[in-house]
């Protein structure tokens, strides 16, 4: 399926793909001329916005054909601001890109309210989980989730929204071109969004990936969103670009509170101090969107949890330590310890009062909700390293803790 490119769109795409092109330069080029006229004026070196003729050598029929080929091959749709097909949600924005490239159906932008979920690439486990739940719950409530498809928070929010059972589509705004090669699992998610949502970029296919484009595309996210939610960001994180752009446009900014000890939450906590709305879950987001009170309990998100502020998104937390419960998957994974039924071994042992039970609860008490180093677990539990290691192993089988290289946290 190749979209048919009109002449205007072809010229617009080729202009956006010129070397050294930036959104501002493109705006100057198209300020008083339409793309075709602008292209022809550049070709003869008579464009008033290009007195130095910097692009004259690049404006060739071959460049035009190459751009058309690339757009057709990747299925990227080109729209020009002010022309048919350009997303109305973006058209009136002061920083709207002159030429927009997108995959998927642009009508998804109007399915429901749009909420941008943004955050750091280097997120904590809790932040990732929060973003995923937020994405899923909002998608289920009919909200179009907008994010940047970066690693960390962006990816978690998108995958939550895409994997939610509802059909509300999600929108990704890329800093690279819409058809650029991405690492897995981003590429798979991008393809999925292209089919069931929308992937937007102002970068022409075939352009080099440049650092500044990632900061610049944040204004598109801010322009699209009715509300920007910062899940986790560092004090100087790139998400603050989005926040700045949103505030310039009068878009409401909200943030998820995080632990004071976590550097990944320092930026989002600072936003809260400076007046951003606090988000405890999808309910708070919906309340902000409707301008009403928190819709407590609507998205299964109302119980206070042990994690500072992030608790409501962790509904399982309320049940921990409250006796036996069925954990999905625990019956199949552990040939050593949990073959004997769906009751976690530590909980079963607790009833039996065996020594293994005491150790399991000691270790479980030592593991915090925030990632805890193995050293801390050993020190707090007071057990030998070997005992701690085997107990953590069995607790992980039961799905009570999870860990990576040298740290563990409850889940």
């Amino acid at each position: 399926m190749s979209p048919v490119l009109g002449e205007m769109e072809m010229h617009g795409a080729a202009l956006a793909g010129l070397p050294g092109m930036t959104p501002r330069r493109l705006r100057l080029l198209l300020e008083k001329m339409d793309p075709s006229d602008s292209w022809n004026a550049l070709a003869v070196g008579r464009h008033p916005a290009d007195p130095g003729q910097r692009w004259r050598g690049y404006v060739t029929d071959e460049a035009l054909r190459r751009m058309a080929r690339m757009c057709m091959a990747s299925g990227v749709v080109v729209t020009i601001r002010g022309c048919a097909g350009y997303p109305p949600a973006l058209a009136d924005d002061s920083g709207a890109p002159e030429v927009l490239f997108h995959l998927g159906d642009s009508s998804v932008l109007d399915v429901g309210p749009r909420v941008a979920i943004v955050g750091t690439r280097s997120a904590s486990r809790a932040g990732i989980e929060t973003a995923r739940r937020l994405g899923a719950d909002l998608a289920q409530s009919g909200v179009v989730v907008v994010s940047g498809l970066a690693a960390g928070i962006d990816f978690a929010a998108h995958s939550g929204a895409v994997l939610a059972s509802s059909c509300t589509p999600a929108v990704a705004v890329l800093g690279t071109s819409a058809s650029a090669r991405l690492a897995q699992p981003m590429a798979a998610l991008r393809d999925r969004l292209g089919e069931r949502g929308m992937v937007i970029s102002e970068t022409a296919p075939g352009s080099r990936s440049e650092r500044w484009r990632f900061a610049v595309r944040n204004r598109i996210m801010a322009a699209l969103a009715d509300l920007v939610v910062v899940v986790e960001c560092h004090e100087t994180g790139g998400s603050l670009h989005t926040v700045r752009a949103a505030r310039q446009r009068g878009v409401l900014v909200a943030a998820v509170p995080g632990p004071l000890s976590s550097p990944a939450s320092s930026g989002s906590n600072a936003l809260l101090v400076s007046g951003a709305a606090a988000i405890r879950g999808a309910g708070d987001v919906l309340a902000l969107l409707t301008g009403g009170k928190a819709l407590g309990g609507q998205a299964g998100i109302a119980c206070p949890g042990p994690r500072c502020g992030g608790g409501p998104l962790n509904p399982r937390s309320g049940t921990l330590g409250a006796g036996p419960r069925v954990i999905p998957g625990s019956t199949s994974s552990s040939p050593i310890l949990s073959r004997r039924g769906s009751v976690p071994s530590w909980a079963r042992d607790r009833e039996a009062g065996s020594p293994a039970d005491v150790e399991a609860s000691q270790v479980l008490d030592a593991v915090g909700w925030e990632p805890t180093s193995l050293d801390q677990v050993v020190l707090i539990s007071g057990l030998a390293l070997g005992q701690v290691a085997i107990t953590l192993e069995s607790l992980a089988d039961d799905g009570l803790v999870e860990g990576g290289s040298g740290w563990w946290s409850r889940c």
Binding site: T120, R121, S122, A123, S124, R125, G127, I128, A151, E232, H234, S262, P263, A264, S265, S334, P335, I336, P371, S373, L374, D375, Q376, V378, L379, L385, G386, Q387, V388, A389, I390, L392, E393, G404, S405, G406, W407
Partner: protein, 506 residues
């Protein structure tokens, strides 16, 4: 007239006997040295002339030729000054040939005739067989380590002349230095607060000879722990002590008090180290590198990620074989290099990446950092321990007494004994095919192992390494084989950083 004086030069860490043949005859006056001398030996002409004149011997206007036999091998170092001078004295007729019969000479000459120490005196004296050896006083004790009563010492050329002319007896050996208890000044493990995982890894590393990689943020105590590893290793066996002393002497290092090195050496080269400084080599003579100096001890590479990858990959073959074979156009040398490799690195360039949500490095920066260490080298670390900064409260709270080096060292000694009973130096040397026999697994342990193999977190190669480490842990616990699940779980927990570094790479 001709004289022949036995001496020796250094080649790698081995001494090689050299005959210094001096011929003095009439003819056009001159002084030449032949027999592939290097720059230091060629310069000895000027030192010898000045030293002889300073010692009251007149310089003859005759033709003097010095040949260093065997003449096909390149000779280096200043240790041939003294034999050349003595050879000249005999050939000039200043000394009767009979008084130097059965004497070999080693030493560098100062312009005032004083005798200076030469590197590698242990190996040099060792290769000279049964003859008595005259060495500078300053390295007489080192020479005595190998030659005992065959050593004669002299402080200067004029002293030597007086003895040889029969005016005086050989001077007494300087008094043997007393044992000043060098063990005491080693840092103690009791100073390390917290870090139960790091301490345990150190203990296991010392007990089983398992190479240790510590991955953690700056200030997590990696270097502090590594410094305490030599104290955990048992004293060197006499044969090892001799070999270590030979290597250190050949590198020109002071043996300290002139006694055999009986404690495991600890070498910590900076990451700016060149390839040659690490593996050995060099232009004058093939000098032992840091890996040979760490023989029977610990080679600590701090900031492993900052070492050039070429240098790191050079460690791979010595790590397997325990020796380094240097091959150069002018000859080859084999030097011992059986060391315990301990390395420390940060998890990422900013150093904070061990806990999620802390690191501010870009993905490419992390990837580039993790790729600095090649897979084959990473594979050789049996223990790869993630380290974390200790909690502030633990650092400030007084009263908690941590286990001292002595207590841990006694457990280590017990485990080393268990390994010796199995016929290996330490558990890391147990061949893979013998593991099933010497380290059987309990049913629970083998179920755990199988699960790890199935879920892909353990490779087949990692399997053997984990089993060896688990065996060491069982030895340290005093329970011995069969290996229980908790031993295995501990061994697996102590390689957690391994998978983290590899994971980063995907």
């Amino acid at each position: 007239m001709l004289s022949i004086i036995p001496s020796a030069t250094l080649h790698g860490v081995d001494g090689r006997p050299v005959s210094v043949e001096v011929h003095v005859s009439g003819g056009f006056p001159g002084f030449t040295v032949v027999g592939l001398p290097d720059a230091a030996v060629r310069e000895s002409r000027d030192r010898v002339r000045a030293a002889l004149l300073s010692s009251g011997v007149s310089w003859p206007a005759q033709r003097m030729t010095v040949n260093l036999a065997p003449s096909g091998v390149r000779k280096g170092g200043a240790g041939l000054d003294l034999p050349i001078a003595v050879g000249l004295l005999v050939a000039m007729g200043e000394l009767p040939a009979s008084v130097v019969d059965g004497l070999a000479f080693l030493g560098e000459l100062g312009l005032d005739g004083s005798l200076r120490r030469v590197p590698g005196i242990v190996s040099l004296v060792g290769c000279l067989g049964l003859s008595e050896v005259v060495v500078p006083t300053s390295c007489a004790h080192e020479a005595c380590l190998v030659a005992g009563t065959r050593v004669r010492s002299a402080g200067s050329l004029s002293d030597l002349l007086m003895v040889l002319r029969g005016g005086k007896a050989w001077p007494e050996m300087p008094p043997s230095p007393i044992d000043d208890g060098r063990r005491c000044d080693q840092p103690d493990l009791g100073d390390v607060i917290g870090q139960p995982v790091g301490r345990r890894a150190l203990e296991i590393s010392a007990a089983g000879g398992h190479h240790l990689l510590m991955v953690g943020p700056p200030g997590s105590g990696k270097t502090m722990l590594a410094n305490r590893l030599p104290g955990l290793l048992p004293p060197l066996a006499p044969a090892d002590a001799m070999e270590v002393s030979r290597v250190h002497s050949a590198a020109g290092l002071d043996l300290g008090n002139g006694r055999l090195i009986d404690r495991a050496p600890f070498r910590a080269p900076h990451h700016g180290a060149s390839e040659v400084s690490i593996v050995g080599g060099g232009s004058s003579w093939l000098r032992p590198g840091e890996i040979s100096l760490a023989h029977c001890g610990v080679l600590f590479l701090d900031e492993l990620g900052e070492f050039p990858s070429r240098v790191l990959d050079m460690l791979r073959q010595p790590l397997e074989e325990g020796v380094i074979r240097l091959a150069r156009a002018r000859g080859t040398a084999t030097m011992p290099a059986r060391f315990l490799l301990v390395a420390a690195m940060n998890p990422c360039p900013c150093g904070e990446g061990s806990l999620p949500g802390r690191c501010r490095c870009s993905d490419t920066a992390r990837l580039r950092y993790s790729r600095r260490i090649s897979g084959p080298l990473l594979d050789r670390f049996d223990l790869a321990v993630p380290m974390a900064r200790p909690e502030m409260a633990a650092l400030l709270s007084p009263g908690k007494v941590e286990e001292s080096t002595g207590a841990v060292a006694s457990r280590v000694a017990g485990a080393r004994l268990a390994a010796l009973v199995r016929g290996v130096r330490w558990n890391a040397d147990i061949p893979a095919q013998a593991l099933d026999r010497v380290a059987p697994l309990s049913a629970e342990a083998s179920a755990l192992l199988q699960r790890r193999l199935y879920d892909g977190s353990l490779s087949a190669r990692g399997l053997h390494r984990v089993r060896r480490v688990a065996l060491t842990i069982a030895d340290l616990d005093g329970s011995g084989p069969p290996i229980e699940a908790c031993h295995l779980a501990e061994a697996l927990a102590l390689r957690a950083a391994h998978s983290a570094v590899l994971l980063e790479r995907r």
